[in-house]
Symmetry: C2
Subunit: 290 residues, 2 copies
């Protein structure tokens, strides 16, 4: 329920201490999908998180085959969601797009389809109503995902994204939505970057674990100053102030046995050699997360 243990990377010398490490492809965005597959295999990393746009550009079935051939587990597909529109046509279009995302997650055998809820529509000041629309949209999407064996994972984003990206701001809110469904159908994402500041996160992680709701555990570090737009300000593991090990221990104590997915949006990392970045991620993971 709390995510399957990632398979060992086939045909690699995966060190035991990297067995749970998953690398989200945005961390090494400079790599194509084949480079990612090759680079992870070479580094002994057996799991990846993928994004829809590069997967679609490469071809969904082709990407799925590539991952299978390299023995890579796809721990998450980012992302569905963005269904806070009030306009009925926009809402219907968003649900159509989410069904396509479910199909892609199914083709990839992804552990979860990550849902980022979307922000407030232009000119809207009613965040409570927007949150209700998210719950409604998940209800509309859930049967389609269930029929295709895809688990939905609601991701709370940091409150600094509440207006323009994700009105679901805390793990408690995500669980309130998820718990209307069986745990194997709708879980949550615990992302250290988004939740580190929240004094209720430990209790909500325990709640999520009790219910078998932790579909993904993601890590990045919090560094300041935040850049303009704030999206690309995530730090390499260990460069910031997040107690990554403490949060990893908390999800473990809650019963999670799945992957630890490193998802860092950082142009500084993208400007470097991908293999060098991946090696650094592995080293930081050992030092600050394990």
């Amino acid at each position: 329920m709390n995510g399957g243990a990632p398979r060992a990377a086939a045909g690699t010398d995966a060190a035991g201490d990297l067995a749970r490490l998953s690398v989200n492809q945005e961390t090494v965005k400079q790599w194509s999908l084949p480079e990612l597959a090759e680079g992870c295999a070479a580094a002994g990393v057996g799991s990846v998180g993928l994004w829809r746009a590069p997967v679609r550009a490469y071809g969904v079935e082709r990407a799925a085959r590539l991952m299978r051939e390299r023995g890579l587990t796809v721990t998450s597909l980012c992302r569905g969601g963005f269904f806070t529109a009030r306009d009925p046509e926009e809402r219907a279009a968003a649900l159509d797009d989410n069904r396509a995302a479910v199909d892609e997650a199914a083709a990839l055998g992804a552990g979860a389809l990550v849902l980022v809820s979307g922000g407030l529509p232009e000119g809207d000041r009613d965040i409570a109503a927007a949150r209700r629309r998210v719950a409604d949209a998940v209800r509309d999407l859930a049967p389609y995902a269930r029929a295709r064996g895809v688990r939905l994972a609601i991701e709370p984003l940091h409150p600094m994204f509440a207006s323009d990206r994700c009105v679901v701001s805390t793990l408690g809110q995500a669980l309130d939505i998820a718990e209307a469904f069986p745990a194997e159908q709708v879980g949550v994402v615990v992302d250290a970057y988004h939740l580190w500041w929240d004094d209720r996160a430990p209790a909500q992680i325990a709640r999520a674990g009790r219910g078998g709701r932790i579909a993904c555990f993601q890590v990045a570090d919090w560094v300041t100053p935040l850049p303009k737009g704030v999206l690309l300000g995530r730090g390499q593991l260990g460069d910031g102030c997040v107690d990554l090990r403490g949060l990893r221990e908390a999800v473990d104590a809650a019963g999670y046995r799945g992957a630890v997915e490193v998802e860092i949006f950082n142009p500084g990392l993208w400007a470097r050699d991908g293999a060098e970045v991946l090696a650094e991620v592995a080293e930081r993971y050992r030092r600050h997360v394990l």
Copy 2:
């Protein structure tokens, strides 16, 4: 307890609908203190929020006399706090500085001394411990403030400031600290900009009101994209997505009868004529807050 009603501006034609409006001097940072006093009197604004640095530069007693002569109520003095240091000498220096801030607030007859807690010390990853140090520091400062008739007001800042500016991120956390003291000694700041995203804010505002803890109510709007460093990204009232009227009604329903202080850090406003900005603030206040 919930802040006194601001006095009507003496010698002005203060329209009744601006009776609660207070203008924080950072909103019209281009103005000197005499310009602020003159401009507010001319615009029928009877209350201001002041900052320590410009007050000290002008002279504390002199500033107090200026405000008295113009019949201006000082609703808040920003700011004390920044007492999360672990180092004993740094901590002692912070407390010394806070006692000076209390003295200044007393001289100005300020309705409250706003406390911004401070962030995590360099290299520190234990935010729970930093929050405990804030509670300890308030305990150390409270008797000094009480003896001088100064009310302390703990301000929760948006979680995007948790690492570098304020580990107190929610109204609930601020109340947990304040409630160890009598309400007339330690209250809280309810700032719409910092709390708008929080689904628990309505319940915490009600809690704050029941306890007579609302020492200040501040407003600014949330606009995106956030600028680099995020501090100076606040929007003019009505330019963003905050339900300012709803929050004002919530503090009113909780029993608050004090000022509505407009505190907007925005270089775009600072580049304009101060009187024009103040007139716009008054107009937006009528349209979006009243």
